[in-house]
């Protein structure tokens, strides 16, 4: 059966980089394998950043190589600069996402680069990827982070987001993604941003969103993305990395709840939700000190679900 919506599991990257526990390499491999076997089409397995900055991501190269050995899995990684992009390519990543914060204050704070400096870095990444032979060439995406608002700047102008999308597409990236990094976005905003980006950069420029559930609005935003025709949604198993009950929490949308929502609507994700629940147990065992979230796992599947 054709997959209608591609769920990109970002737990091993966005989830694990946000918690104190460091998951052992073998446990990460077991997670990636189990999630692959549950039918997840794409997994963001890590981030190519210095280990001293994010020790949780120190084994990203090894995890990337392992994931790339699983046939049919799209292996995504995050890389903040050319150095990371090169490492990602060297280790066989299929999709590389370069985060570009639409809030310049956030960009400076996070990666010590202004908007012009980030555009230069992205240009270098594009140049490098262009030179790779087609059999090895990855998809290069720019994640437009804080596209919906920022904890430092507050509102982020939609015209800035659209302009930056245009500039990076002109530099030669394959696509952009909309990231609600701080969990402030709403469905009307997604609609305006997506339609404006499509108008300025073409329909193929934007196919995915990265949503957080900070204010409970994650699945409503996901629904709007799907209604608009987006085909890739990021989510994190057990919402790892953010506690919805703690102030400032910024957890990703929960994979289990997203799969339940989409499959209930008759949209095929390729994921077996019962197997996904087992992956959850495996991850909980590997992270005994961390809380996993999700409503569907707590309530269980409805009687007789899925309905005919």
């Amino acid at each position: 059966m054709t997959i209608d919506i591609y769920i990109s599991e970002v737990g091993p990257r966005d989830g694990l980089q946000s918690i104190k526990s460091i998951m052992p390499t073998e446990a990460k491999k077991a997670w990636v394998k189990a999630q692959y076997e549950a039918g997840t089409p794409e997994i963001e397995v890590g981030s190519f950043v210095p280990a001293k900055l994010l020790p949780q991501m120190a084994d990203t190269a090894e995890i990337t190589r392992y994931a790339a050995s699983l046939e049919g899995l799209t292996v995504a990684v995050l890389a903040p600069n050319l150095h990371g992009v090169k490492a990602a390519v060297d280790n066989g990543a299929h999709k590389i996402s370069v985060p570009f914060s639409m809030s310049e204050s956030h960009s400076v704070k996070n990666v010590k680069k202004t908007h012009p400096q980030m555009l230069e870095e992205i240009a270098r990444c594009c140049e490098y990827v262009k030179g790779i032979s087609s059999s090895q060439k990855p998809t290069l995406e720019v994640g437009l982070s804080t596209a919906f608002g920022c904890t430092i700047e507050g509102e982020v102008k939609e015209s800035t987001v659209v302009s930056m999308a245009e500039q990076v597409m002109a530099l030669g990236v394959d696509e952009v993604g909309l990231s609600d990094t701080t969990g402030v976005g709403n469905p009307a905003q997604i609609k305006r941003l997506a339609q404006s980006i499509w108008q300025h950069c073409g329909r193929e420029s934007l196919n995915g969103v990265h949503l957080h559930n900070t204010r409970g609005q994650g699945l409503a935003n996901a629904l709007m993305a799907v209604e608009l025709g987006m085909t890739t949604l990021d989510s994190s198993l057990g919402g790892i990395g953010g506690c919805p009950w703690a102030p400032g929490a910024s957890g990703n949308i929960v994979t289990e709840d997203l799969v339940f929502l989409l499959e209930s609507m008759g949209l095929n994700t390729g994921i077996d939700i019962n197997k996904l629940m087992q992956v959850r147990e495996l991850v909980q065992q590997a992270l005994p000190d961390e809380s996993l979230y999700g409503f569907t796992p707590a309530a269980g599947l409805p009687k007789g679900w899925p309905y005919s």
Copy 2:
């Protein structure tokens, strides 16, 4: 400013009837008053059922009379039969909702009535309301409960829901509402059910939904309802009455999160979200042994929100 979406606060009814604590009458009045002063246009203040069945609702007559004294507030109540409808009218309710379970097993278990017996009871209610002078005449609604599925029967046929909607509209009720009593519904189902009911019973027959957040899908369902043109959404302050982390939990969608979602989208609810947070504190003080839920209260409002 015109209200775009009417939020009906059902906490004093659906919330309070689902918890062990019995809120004192004076605390209920304080809640209703505070929520009214925060701009809530409609409050479902109680249920006219025997006090021995639901002791939490024993003071519904008094609360109804009190709420009816607050100018401009739409006072809604639940009544399962003619006896309850009469009491509701006697105490000045503006809107009376008669719950009618689309799952016959659920109906028999809950109110000891088969579908034909419920239709007879609803006919008697219509007959009674018809005879009331226009100045006192309430809106009579039938809440199509378990319309999305049932914990006893599993799937509930959509043709049953539409047929029952047609039959009760023909009996003379003013409108029907779609209730996801058990928190199993999805946006595609809301769309199919609403469009089918509108086709068979006319556009004015259905304007509201009653959603639960059991599997985290509540706000996605609310978004679909709004996109379809529904104008009334039920929700419960602090999601009182259901613990999202306990199996079988069936809490209503959280008013605070719903207001944040809608107001973020530029839809006016008439509700001041900062005042609503204060109502939350008041209710928590009156229910020290109960948990209140909600993501927006935990995370706080975004910096600079609402954006221009």
